[in-house]
Amino acid sequence: MSPTDPLAPEPADAIIAAPLLTARGIRKSFGDVEVLKSIDLTVPRGNVVALIGPSGSGKTTVLRSLNGLEVPEAGTVEFSGGDVVDYSRNPTKRQLASLRDRSAMVFQQFNLFPHRTVLENVIEGPVQVQKRPKAEAIADARALLERVGLGAKADAYPFELSGGQQQRVGIVRALALKPQLLLFDEPTSALDPELVGDVLDVIRELATEGWTMVLVTHELTFASHVADTIVFMDGGVVVESGPPSEVLQNPREARTKQFLHRLLDR
């Protein structure tokens, strides 16, 4: 892979996976309901961490705490080499921005900008925020769109695309920022079943290329294939975490077993 490849991730120089992101003691309540009860999460560089668990277990809230879309009451988030963002001390806009500068997010509902074409969606961040030359951003964007099979759709508006295509644009929009960390919030949950495969293929490819990702998903089979670490959450706590061969194949905790059984019984 050449260094100018827009899909090239941070150099995966470390054989021992050093943490890219460390979150500690994340607590969050909505009203009286404590949705996160002190969550710790470590994301090694080049790893894929999948957050799984029943709905309402808090996995999306954890994900959104990593880039400040959700502001927890307590806890810290730290990128290696960056500031420690301490949520218990009212983080400044600049600190939240520093989390967002290093990460990019793919949403369940895509959240593409409907008033901009596919290409405009993709170059918006690189040009408006990162102030990269427009021609360069466009060239990168076209190359990325080509890679996810949407080269011909560059000038289409989002409403003209299928859900699966929109989500692939969502992924490309995130990649175009050249982030250190990709956050996926149930990227296939809003898709018709027949469109899920294309999106998962793209994510799988990114995983093999060494992108660091945190993925909230209900696709357990997919998670077991791409994830280095599975984090099973229930009731606002991490019940257990480890490689898929442990958590999914040989769960230790009763709650994990229960959850997996329920899914398999269907």
Binding site: N67, R100, D101, F107, L112, P114, G125, Q128, F159, R173
Partner: protein
């Protein structure tokens, strides 16, 4: 008799349309432009989480909507001089009309901003945009589409409301008609003529509205 009435209507068309071109239309355009700027500011204040800021905006909107435009106009033109502030007819009219549009359009813009899904703000933030950048580049363009129909209403009302400026001596469409009517004593004919000219202006505006709506709808599924 009928002959001369037609003559009168024809001859008065020039000053009446002239009044529209030099009075009504520039007055409406300028006040609307200024009014929209005020409205955007007030809408953003109204959405502020700082209660004193949103409170000021609330009070402003309440006063504008709760008092007659004619009274606002008179306060500025006839009222202010008694405390030593003299404002000419034109500036008085512009101030009153733009403050008025500011109050009404603020609620339209606020509602339009709120109608844009929260995910759009989040998408802006996650690609690294600030709140202001997201507002300008992501939210307002989408809010604009939603607010065109109600803002067109506001604008069309404004065009007609500018006739009130005749009462503070601004030479516009209606004042021209009034003067010719008083001189010729043909009140019915002249006032209907004035009404027709207003109507024609508003017809043009309505078609401009549909063109604008079509243009802004180009990125929405039909």
């Amino acid at each position: 008799m009928t002959e001369s009435l037609w003559d009168l209507l024809l001859r008065s068309l020039l000053p009446i349309v002239g009044g529209a071109l030099t009075g009504t239309i520039p007055l409406a355009l300028l006040s609307f432009a200024l009014g929209l700027v005020i409205a955007l500011g007030v809408a953003l204040m109204r959405l502020s989480r700082i209660w004193i800021v949103s409170g000021i905006a609330r009070v402003y909107i309440s006063i504008i909507r709760g008092t007659p435009l004619l009274v606002q106009l008179f306060v500025i033109f006839y009222g202010l001089p008694s405390i030593g502030v003299l404002v000419d007819p034109w500036p008085s009219a512009i101030i009153a009309f733009s403050l008025n549009v500011g109050g009404y359009a603020a609620e339209v813009i606020r509602a339009a901003i709120l109608s844009v899904p929260k995910g759009q703000w989040e998408a802006g933030y996650t690609i690294g945009m600030s709140r202001g950048q997201t507002l300008v580049r992501v939210i307002l363009p989408q809010a604009a589409r939603v607010s065109v129909p109600p803002l067109s209403n506001t604008f069309i009302s404004l065009v007609k409301d500018t006739s009130l400026a005749s009462l503070i001596l601004v030479t516009e469409l209606f004042r021209q008609a009034q003067q010719i009517a008083a001189f010729s004593q043909e009140f019915m004919a002249l006032y209907i003529e004035a009404a027709v000219v207003y109507w024609v202006i508003c017809l043009v505006l309505s078609s401009a509205q549909s063109v604008l709506e079509k243009r802004l709808d180009r990125y929405v599924a039909h």
